[in-house]
Structures are given as C-alpha cells and as structure tokens.
C-alpha cells in the first residue's frame, strides 16, 4: 500500500492544478484516472477546440492547456496511475484507503475528487444480447489486433476509430463497415482508401442502417442489420467491433456515502470538503450555491482545498500563506534558485 499526502481522482485540468497547489505547499500526491492519458474532457472531448476563458491566456486548445499544466507540475514528479478506476474508498482511522481496478491500494488523509462528470467509458450497443458476447466476440476497443486475423468482422461506427480499424483489419480479415448514415467522417486519405478497398471487394459498406439483433448462443454466428427503408440483412459475423465514442459514467463515486445532488457532490465553498472529513470535491463534479462549471472556478477550488489538505496531512505544523513571487521555500520546491 502506497502512502501519500493526497489522492487525486481525475487527471483533468483541475486535478492537474491540484498537484501544483499541493506541491507548492510541500505536499505530495498521486493521480488516478480511468483514461490512458492526462487531460480529462479537455483531451477526450475537445483537444482541438479553442478555450477563451482561461485568465491571461486569450486562446488555447484543450490539448495545449493540458500540456502547459503538465509542464507546470513537472517539478513535483507526481506519479500517475492511468487506465485505472477507483473502485472503493474506505476509512481507516484518520486515513482513507483507496483501491483501484488495477488492484493498487493507497492510503492518505486526503482525497480530492476532480472527477468531472465521472469516468469515460465506451458507449455500448443497445441490443440486449450484446452483453453475452462482450469481451469475447464483441469489443469496444482493439487491444491486440492479432486476435482478429482471418475472421468475419462487422464494424459499427462512422468516425475515425471505425474507419481506421476497418482499414487495418481488412489486411487479413473480411470487413463489413456499418453506419447509420451514408456519410463517413474521417481523414480524406482514409476515406479514399476505404472506397478503394470497397471496389476491390475487401470491405463491404452497409449504410444507412443499424444493428437489429445478434444471432448465436456461445459464439456469434451472424448479425441482422436494418436499413432505413425497413429492409433487413443478415451478415455472417465472428466478431463485432463497435465505435460509438465514449460516454461519461459517474461509476462507484455514488456509493461512497457522499451527499449527492443529481450527478454532483455537495461541498462547502470554504474549503470544498464534502460531508466526509478529508474528502474534497472540485471542478465540474462539485456543487455549492453559485457554482459555475468553468475550468477557472476549478482552479480556485483546488487552491482553497489544498490548504485544508495541508492541515490534515501536517497536523503538527502551522500553515503559512505564501506568495510564489517571494517565498524561497516555494521557489525551491519548484526547482528555482
């Protein structure tokens, strides 16, 4: 079990800035996130969309903001645990014990939940029988493409992931690419490759249609798709790949005994502590009178929460407010002379 001054859940902009605010106060932290990289919604939902309301930054993209924040917290050498979801939070005397989906365990007096609107998970197919085949013959991501050799593969989706995997897997398998509209959305080069392979008979495009049912008991035998004009078609299928993007799920957070208001966690606006001592919620996931879901509000929230974290992690020390411009100690922590 790893000990740390603060466990930060969520590596979005607010979680990243929490590392900074704790770090300049001399507190170490670890960060856990369900995605495979830092940045949260900024990276997953709008990496290329400009943001115009970060103070003193007239314009920057989600990607740029994330990179800058990572640069800003570099001096603290914080350990990140990515591709992991926090499954369990329990109390052990004055500390909180956190267990993740990768069986990591952490102990800390403080938890800062900077979880946005929850963790990102793939959007699943809506037909009931889909569940039976999941992770065996139905996948929402490709981890090892070797397992998809010499198969009949039905790929759902009209965006980059669906197109890219259709191209890649068509090298050694039969591909049906199925989309609810006639138009696909992808890089022009990818689109022309797809059209070429369709002519050569290596990929068959099925549009506009949607999945009607999956047939088979232990294995998938075939799928039935339904066209907009009402016609149906059976397609011989061994494997289904589905790329309908990610959705945000609150996940286990709702089971930790925190006071919730719909999908948000109630906090006080003095130090953003929840109803549980030592558990804080900041950023989009917290709610208090006047709350605005802005990145800049999240930055303010972690600054205040980090003071209370200090008091809990260093009960025998007195907290002293300091400016980064004049504090030698802070400058040392930042690696400046």
């Amino acid at each position: 079990m790893k000990k740390t001054d603060t466990i930060i859940i969520g590596a979005g902009p607010v979680g990243l800035f929490a590392v900074h605010q704790l770090g300049i106060k001399g507190l170490n932290s670890i960060v856990i996130d369900n995605l495979d990289k830092a940045g949260g919604q900024c990276i997953e939902l709008y990496p290329d969309k400009p943001i115009y309301d970060i103070p003193a930054v007239p314009e920057c993209t989600g990607q740029e903001l994330t990179e800058k924040l990572l640069e800003q917290i570099k001096p603290f050498n914080t350990e990140f645990f990515l591709n992991e979801r926090v499954e369990e939070v329990k109390k052990d005397k004055e500390n909180w014990i956190v267990k993740t989906s990768n069986k990591n365990e952490f102990s800390s007096p403080n938890i800062i939940i900077a979880g946005g609107v929850g963790s990102f998970e793939p959007r699943k197919l809506s037909v009931k029988e889909a569940e039976n085949f999941e992770d065996k013959f139905l996948f929402y991501a490709v981890k090892n493409k070797e397992q998809f050799k010499n198969k009949n593969i039905s790929i759902f989706g009209g965006g980059d992931s669906a197109l890219d995997w259709a191209l890649e897997l068509s090298k050694f398998s039969n591909i049906s690419l199925i989309h609810r509209r006639d138009e696909f959305r992808g890089a022009p080069h990818t689109l022309s490759e797809i059209k070429k392979l369709e002519k050569e008979g290596k990929i068959s495009l099925k549009t506009p249609c949607q999945l009607e049912s999956i047939e088979g008991t232990e294995k998938i035998k075939s799928i039935t798709i339904k066209y907009d004009n009402g016609k149906t078609e059976k397609i011989k299928t061994d494997v289904i790949l589905s790329f309908f993007g990610l959705i945000m799920k609150l996940g286990p957070i709702s089971e930790w005994g925190l006071n919730m208001n719909k999908k948000t966690i109630e906090v006080n606006s003095k130090n953003f502590e929840t109803n549980k001592k030592g558990i804080f919620a900041v950023g989009d996931i917290c709610v208090y009178p006047g709350k605005l879901k802005l990145i800049l509000s999240g930055f303010h929230e972690v600054a205040l929460a980090s003071v209370e974290c200090f008091k809990r992690a260093r009960p025998n020390e007195k907290y002293r407010f300091e400016f980064t411009t004049s504090s030698k100690t802070i400058q040392q922590r930042l690696g400046k002379k």
Partner: protein
C-alpha cells in the same frame, strides 16, 4: 413565453413555458424534466441531451451543423428526427414545439 412540450418515451408529457434564448435542454434542466442528462452542459460534446423532434417541426428548426450530426451518431438509438436539445434555441417560432426523450441517454 413560448411553450415547449416534453414527452417521455412512455407518453407522459409536460408543457412548460421556456424563456426565449434558452435552449430546449436548459428549459428541461431548469424545470426538472427527466430524461435529458446534458452531462457536458451544452457544449455539444456528449449526446446525452438527445431528443426526438415531432416530425412536423423538423423542417422548421435550424439545420443541424456537422458537429451536431456527428455527435448524434454517438447517441442512444438515433433516428431521422434526432436532435441535440442543447442546440435548439427557444424562440417565438418554436412556440408549440414537441419533443420526445429517448428511453435512456447512455
């Protein structure tokens, strides 16, 4: 104030007056209409405010931009009359609009 009718997938409906300038999504959230989650808060990034628009209104609404159409691909059971309610801004022209929420959003 324009009236908007929100109907759930079982046919229960509620008609409310929504301020001009608000989105159909905001009208639902402010009046505790269930069935519209709007996880991303209206930035067209999540498709959890997905609704079905009554057919006769389809042509009267401003056309969906590409980004909205792409996002509807990600919605739960999209249909021809699918829209994201965060992109439908209430105006006098939309007085009487009726939308139906899908059986679920995710």
């Amino acid at each position: 104030m324009p009236k908007i009718t929100y109907q759930d997938n079982e046919g229960n409906s509620k008609t409310i007056e929504v301020d001009k300038g608000l989105s159909v999504m905001e009208g639902a959230i402010q009046n505790d209409i269930p069935g519209i989650d709007a996880d991303c808060g209206g930035s067209m990034a999540c498709a959890t405010c997905h609704v079905y628009v009554e057919e006769k209104w389809l042509d009267k609404l401003p056309k969906a931009e590409e980004a909205e159409i792409d996002m509807i691909d990600m919605a739960f059971e999209p249909k021809k009359n699918s829209r994201l309610s965060c992109q439908l801004i209430v105006s006098d022209e939309l007085d009487g609009l009726k939308i139906t929420t899908p059986s679920k959003q995710t």
